[in-house]
Symmetry: C2
Subunit: 146 residues, 2 copies
C-alpha cells in the first residue's frame, strides 16, 4: 500500500509532491473504478482545488513509467488508469458491458499457458498481456442483437 509512495519518493530524481500524493490517494481509494484523467482530476480537486489537469496527466505519465499504473483503453475515446499491484505485475482482465458500460475486473491470471504457447509458436517474448471481454453483465444479460 505504501509501496507506491515509497517507490515515488525513492525513484531517483522524482519527488513526492502533495499533488502526486493526492493523485495516488485517489487511485488507491478508487482502485476498482478505472478512472479517466478527468475523473481523477475531479476527485483530486475535492481535496486540492487548485490542481491542474496537466499535472494529473504528467503524474499519470510518470506513474506509468514507474510501472505503478497501467493505462487502459476501452474504446470510449479516453484512457483510463489502473493502479498496478507490485506483486501482481500484469494480468488485467476486464469484462466490459456493452449495455450499461460497467467494467468489471477479473483478477485471476487465465493466460499462463497461452503466453507460453504464443511465445513458442511465434518466437515472441511476452512481457504483458491485456484481455478484454465484451458482452452483457448479469444485470443487463440477454442481448437484443448479437
Amino acid at each position: 500500500m505504501q509501496q507506491f509512495y515509497e517507490r515515488l519518493a525513492t525513484s531517483g530524481q522524482h519527488r513526492l509532491t502533495p499533488q502526486r500524493a493526492d493523485i495516488l490517494q485517489v487511485l488507491l481509494q478508487h482502485s476498482e473504478e478505472h478512472l479517466s484523467a478527468e475523473e481523477i482530476h475531479a476527485l483530486v480537486s475535492e481535496t486540492n482545488p487548485g490542481i491542474g489537469l496537466a499535472t494529473v496527466y504528467r503524474t499519470l505519465d510518470l506513474l506509468e513509467q514507474l510501472n505503478l499504473v497501467l493505462k487502459v483503453n476501452f474504446g470510449d475515446g479516453k484512457s483510463r488508469y489502473d493502479l498496478r499491484e507490485d506483486d501482481e505485475p500484469h494480468h488485467h482482465h476486464h469484462l466490459i458491458c456493452l449495455s450499461c458500460g460497467r467494467i468489471a475486473e477479473v483478477r485471476q491470471d487465465l493466460l499462463h499457458n497461452l503466453e507460453e504457447t504464443v511465445g513458442r509458436e511465434h518466437g515472441f517474448t511476452v512481457v504483458d498481456h491485456r484481455l478484454q471481454f465484451f458482452g452483457y453483465c448479469a444485470d443487463c444479460s440477454s442481448p437484443t442483437e448479437n
Copy 2:
C-alpha cells in the same frame, strides 16, 4: 472476398459508392497492417485524390456497424481498423512489439474455454473478446529491462 462488397450493396439502405469501394479495396490489400484512419485516407487518396478524411471515418463507422471491420486500439492515440472475416466473427489477437512497434496477428481462437469460464463465474454473457500480448518480437527479442 467479394462478401464485403455484397454485404454493403445488399445491406438495406446503404450504397456501394466509389469511395466505399476504394476504402474496402485498401483494407483488403492491407489486411495485415492495422491501418489508422489517416493511413487509409492516404492510401485511398492515391487512387481517388479528392476523397475527404471525414468520408473515411464515416465509412469505417459504417463498416464497423455492419461487422465488416473491427476497430482496435493499441494505445498510440489513434484507432486502427481490421477487416473482419465473415467466417471468423471475432477472436482477434495481437502481438505488439514494444521495441519496434510491429503488430502481428494470431489467428487461432485461444479463448473458447475461457469465455465459458468467465461467463459462468461472473454471470457475464460474452459476445466478443480482445487479447493483446505485449513483448518483443523475434527480431527484437531479449528485452533490456524486466
